[in-house]
């Protein structure tokens, strides 16, 4: 990522980072149906495993097994489920917060598609528990402009832990 080069400029960066913040806001306020609108129909939404390996290995990410590999249809199903009367895991709803930072944007070979990297720190507070849950890492998105509106066309979530310390992944990241 050499400096300056292929820089998208202030305005576009602002637009897209605002888009990510608004996305986070929708999730944190459980406006899941509105959130769904931000995803393209061909979205690829994947969370690989992080592992501990010798540095000689080129990567410490496992794509063969993931925590989820979802299509729009899969995500829609999960969202609808959260609106059922018996999605116990989120009723009563825990409080969740997506701290999004270090947003970096690069153009791609496709017009109107941008590669957007961001760091996430996710925190969750359940019922009256003293101990809150936490998850952190990096997201690599493809953000696409579709008739003037930004959409997420691809998201890969890279957790930083080999053993996740959240009791489940009922949240969207």
């Amino acid at each position: 990522m050499n400096q300056g080069v292929r820089d998208v400029g202030t305005d576009l960066h602002y637009e897209i980072s605002q888009f990510l913040y608004k996305e986070a806001y929708l999730l944190d306020h459980r406006q899941y149906l509105d959130w769904l609108e931000l995803l393209t129909d061909d979205i690829k939404y994947v969370m690989p495993l992080r592992v501990t390996v010798d540095n000689k290995k080129e990567t410490n990410l496992i794509n063969e097994m993931t925590y989820f590999t979802d299509t729009k249809e899969d995500i829609t199903m999960k969202v609808e489920r959260l609106y059922t009367k018996s999605a116990w895991v989120e009723n009563p709803a825990p409080r969740q917060r997506h701290f999004i930072s270090n947003v970096m944007i690069e153009p791609t070979s496709v017009v109107d598609e941008y590669c957007v990297r961001s760091y996430f720190l996710f925190k969750r507070s359940r019922a009256s528990e003293i101990n809150t849950e936490e998850l952190f890492g990096e997201r690599e998105d493809i953000i696409r402009r579709v008739n003037g509106e930004w959409k997420i066309a691809q998201r890969t979530v890279y957790p930083d832990q080999a053993v996740l310390t959240v009791m489940n992944l009922s949240m969207f990241l």
Partner: protein, 445 residues
């Protein structure tokens, strides 16, 4: 731990109750560590995870880090992952391939058979008394496999794995031995930590189809599962030896809409070759196998996807206790090597959608497991005198069910899965072990 307290647990368990205090009690936990996890067969991994000589994976047996290596002759060996010099953890990686493992503290190195082969300046600095051959990695006393499933046991005198598995082998043959080439683990196990007690999670899989109708009711609301609250009850709950058990779930008709759990016809000849008639009969009619090997290995073989295009998948999971109120969950996804790639993909997607940390079924399970902990830590729930009737209820099927002698498989089969027979047998075996002072003695604090 007073003897009369254990005695009282015994009486309650025989009546179909479980004192609530045993769930999160630290003294009970210590006994479990010593007399159960120190003396029973614990799952380590699947042979398909170790591809070639030099391949290694690191696992945990309760709190002991274990290093599994495939040696030159293809044998798989398991050792305490601790340098014999000063105890330093030898390998902190999850997997890899090496000829030699060298300790970062003083440089001692070990070969694939765990033998100490290198001591820096050894000859110069060590004297007579130092005999290299005595300082190889400490082997896990017993390591045995069945159908590719590798287990370890810290008890030198344990019965053999096959004897321990007993009739469960017959069912493992169906799930693991049905197709040529056997099963393969996809990637690595998912791992995460949940607020739960290992006994409750083990029960949840091995003995509790009854929870499906409520815990997973959202699937009904989503029209993914039948509306009849009895839908998970059809079939047989089969009690096996030593706290093992399996639920052979089918449909109201006793048949499955998808023969052989929706396996493609191309596979059927294999099944018919590798399984006997009784196994084929069950396999052809089952929708879901769900059960467990005591103490903390669970499995689920089910179909996902929309009707008609169901795909089968098999998962094994270990509930590693991190305390009375915490488990590290390990989930292995397995699939028949022989299956066509696109089927494997669909099966895998079906697994992810329902189970694992992000699975919609699993999510609600974790909520319930946490709630058991939350309500089992006070005086009313923990009172050992049971002054508050603080006992859990395992009365289902206690006095109204007879075994179905016509069930083709081994074990004692009850004609419904909505019963607590396996749970009660798990409690009895659990108690037999923690009351047995001769087991695992020598374990510290």
């Amino acid at each position: 731990m007073k003897a009369e307290e254990l005695q009282q647990i015994k009486e309650k368990v025989e009546e179909g109750y479980l004192p609530q205090w045993v769930v999160t009690d630290p003294e009970i936990y210590k006994l479990e560590q010593e007399r159960i996890f120190g003396t029973t067969w614990l799952f380590l991994g699947h042979e398909s995870e170790l591809h070639e000589p030099g391949s290694y994976i690191t696992r945990m047996m309760a709190d002991d880090p274990i290093l599994l290596m495939k040696n030159k002759t293809g044998e798989i060996k398991a050792f305490l992952n601790s340098c014999t010099h000063r105890g330093t953890r030898l390998c902190t990686e999850d997997f890899g391939k090496k000829k030699t493992h060298t300790c970062p503290y003083h440089g001692w190195s070990y070969n694939l058979d765990g033998e100490l082969i290198g001591i820096v300046a050894g000859n110069k600095v060590y004297g007579e008394k130092m005999d290299k051959s005595e300082w190889g990695l400490r082997p896990v006393p017993r390591v045995e496999s069945y159908q590719g499933m590798i287990f370890g046991n810290l008890d030198h005198n344990a019965v053999s794995l096959e004897e321990y598995l007993g009739e469960m082998k017959w069912y493992f043959d169906i799930m693991l031995g049905r197709s040529d080439g056997g099963m393969e683990v996809r990637g690595l196990p998912q791992r995460w930590v949940a607020k739960a007690n290992w006994k409750m999670t083990s029960e949840n899989f091995a003995a509790d189809p009854y929870h499906v109708q409520t815990t997973h009711r959202s699937a009904v609301e989503m029209k993914l599962t039948p509306t009849d609250p009895l839908y998970a009850s059809f079939g047989h709950q089969v009690v096996l030896s030593d706290g093992h058990g399996i639920n052979v779930i089918t449909s109201a008709t006793g048949k499955s809409a998808n023969k052989y759990q929706g396996m493609p016809e191309s596979m059927w000849p294999m099944f018919e070759k590798n399984l006997n008639n009784e196994q084929l009969d069950i396999f052809s009619r089952v929708t879901t196998f769900v059960g467990g090997v005591f103490p903390n290995l669970s499995f689920l073989s089910s179909c996902s996807g929309s009707e008609g295009t169901k795909h089968n998948h098999l998962q094994f999971r270990v509930w590693r206790p991190l305390g009375p109120d915490k488990v590290e969950i390990w989930v292995w996804y397995m699939i028949d090597k022989a299956l066509p790639e696109d089927y494997k993909e669909k099966s895998y997607k079906g697994f992810l959608a329902t189970f694992g940390a992000a699975g919609t079924f699993e999510q609600d399970d974790t909520e319930n497991w946490a709630r058991i902990i939350e309500a089992s830590q006070g005086r009313m729930s923990r009172d050992r005198k049971l002054n508050y009737n603080n006992v859990a209820n395992y009365l289902m099927g206690l006095d109204n069910l007879e075994p179905d002698v016509k069930f083709p498989g081994p074990g004692t089969a009850y004609p419904t899965c909505y019963t607590d027979h396996i749970a009660r047998s798990m409690h009895k075996y659990w108690l037999e072990l923690i009351m047995n002072e001769s087991r695992g003695e020598g374990c510290g604090d």
